[in-house]
């Protein structure tokens, strides 16, 4: 095979293949840590009263921390091949969708673009903005 064998796996004697086996104590400590973080996030929400932005940042930071531990330890990414690490991080491509789509909403302006405001832009657009109830000039619908 042309792919690299994972070098950071500890071989367990008696197994046919090399595979890292995480000890129980690691799992348990991570679980306790997650529990503490959960209490922290509830406490922060109930009893901490900071500006909204800060509260959101704290909540998301705690969530990301919990997620990191789950992905790294429970899902074993810490000890897997490079490929799996790329997947684990690359799976958040949707964040680009999020960011760009969100940019649309925050940059929208609920007003006429300058070209359509009388006298603001080029003379081409002056005078053709229809008034309510008036018929549009015929020449804008084709040759007849």
């Amino acid at each position: 095979m042309t792919h690299d064998s994972p070098e950071d796996h500890a071989a367990i004697p008696g197994q046919e293949s090399t595979h890292h086996v995480t000890p129980i104590s690691t799992y348990f400590s991570v679980f306790v840590l997650l529990f503490i973080l959960m209490i922290a996030t509830i406490a922060a929400a109930e009893y901490l009263h900071l500006p909204t932005i800060l509260m959101n940042v704290i909540a998301m930071a705690i969530a990301v921390a919990k997620a990191t531990f789950v992905v790294a330890v429970f899902m074993g990414v810490r000890w897997t091949t490079q490929l799996a690490k790329v997947y684990a991080i690359g799976g958040f491509v949707w964040a680009t969708l999020l960011t760009i789509a969100f940019c649309d909403y925050i940059t929208r302006k609920d007003e006429l673009a300058p070209a359509w405001i009388e006298g603001k832009a080029s003379p081409v657009t002056d005078g053709i903005m229809p008034e309510v109830g008036k018929e549009l000039p015929r020449q804008y619908f084709g040759a007849h």
Partner: protein, 238 residues
């Protein structure tokens, strides 16, 4: 292999239990794990747009969403979070014992994980959601806003100013995302159940920890989604 009258022996040798397209067991194991990770990437992209919709509408209706979210039960949600975190731990233990080839402990921990999943679904479907339905908080033609009873006066006072559209949007997102997540939990429980049954019936498996590890990855992903869901819906700051 294709079932048919004439089967041809292929000229290559492969070890017992390795599927014929793979050269050796390592390649097979790695392929399954890489395959599962690829599927998890698709799941992230599957939940992503729902989170996008949530963020957009929360940004648009900040105050109204905050007031409406008070109708959610923070302690039931917290219990569900604890159950899922614990189930992630027991699932990791199940994978651990699968690798150690300790069938009894593997089945035990997988069983506990499945029970946790069932408990999660029970809390959601028997306690949280029915109370919403009873108060006509499910979006659609039966949506009744503002709620008249069943909650304390302070909350009701807050809710009176919230437009019905914003509240209905909040609940659309709530039921949509938690419903989809619940379906994933159910599928996870069924997969764990299948593995347990296969172990009981002693299905021959060369590397028995691979199916468990794959389901484990899926289960941890389901837990991950809830880790983000819980603070976003239940613990919304003002």
């Amino acid at each position: 292999m294709a079932a048919g009258a004439t089967q041809v022996e292929h000229g290559h040798e492969h070890p017992e239990g390795v599927f014929h397209q793979f050269e050796n067991i390592d390649q097979q194991n790695e392929s399954y794990i890489v395959g599962m990770w690829t599927f998890l990437v698709t799941e992230v992209m599957f939940f992503g747009p729902l989170f996008l919709a949530y963020i957009l509408y929360r940004w648009q209706f900040q105050e109204y969403f905050w007031r409406t979210h008070k109708l959610l039960n923070i302690w039931l949600g917290g219990a569900n979070t604890l159950i899922l975190l614990f189930s992630s731990f027991t699932m990791a233990m199940g994978v651990h014992f699968a690798m150690k080839k300790d069938s009894r402990r593997q089945i035990a921990f997988l069983g506990i994980t499945a029970l946790c999943g069932v408990a999660f679904l029970v809390i959601k479907l028997a306690f949280e959601w029915p109370s919403k339905f009873a108060h006509h908080l499910y979006p659609g033609p039966n949506f009744a806003w503002p709620p008249h009873d069943g909650y304390d006066q302070a909350t009701l006072a807050l809710l009176r100013d919230v437009p019905s559209g914003a509240a209905e949007m909040f609940f659309s997102l709530y039921f949509g995302i938690t419903g989809l997540h619940g379906i994933h939990v159910l599928v996870g429980v069924l997969c764990i159940g299948t593995i347990i049954v296969m172990k009981f019936l002693k299905f021959p498996q060369v590397e028995p920890y691979i199916p468990t590890e794959m389901v484990g990855l899926y289960w941890h992903f389901v837990d991950l989604v809830w880790i983000f869901l819980y603070p976003l819906f239940y613990l919304m700051p003002r």
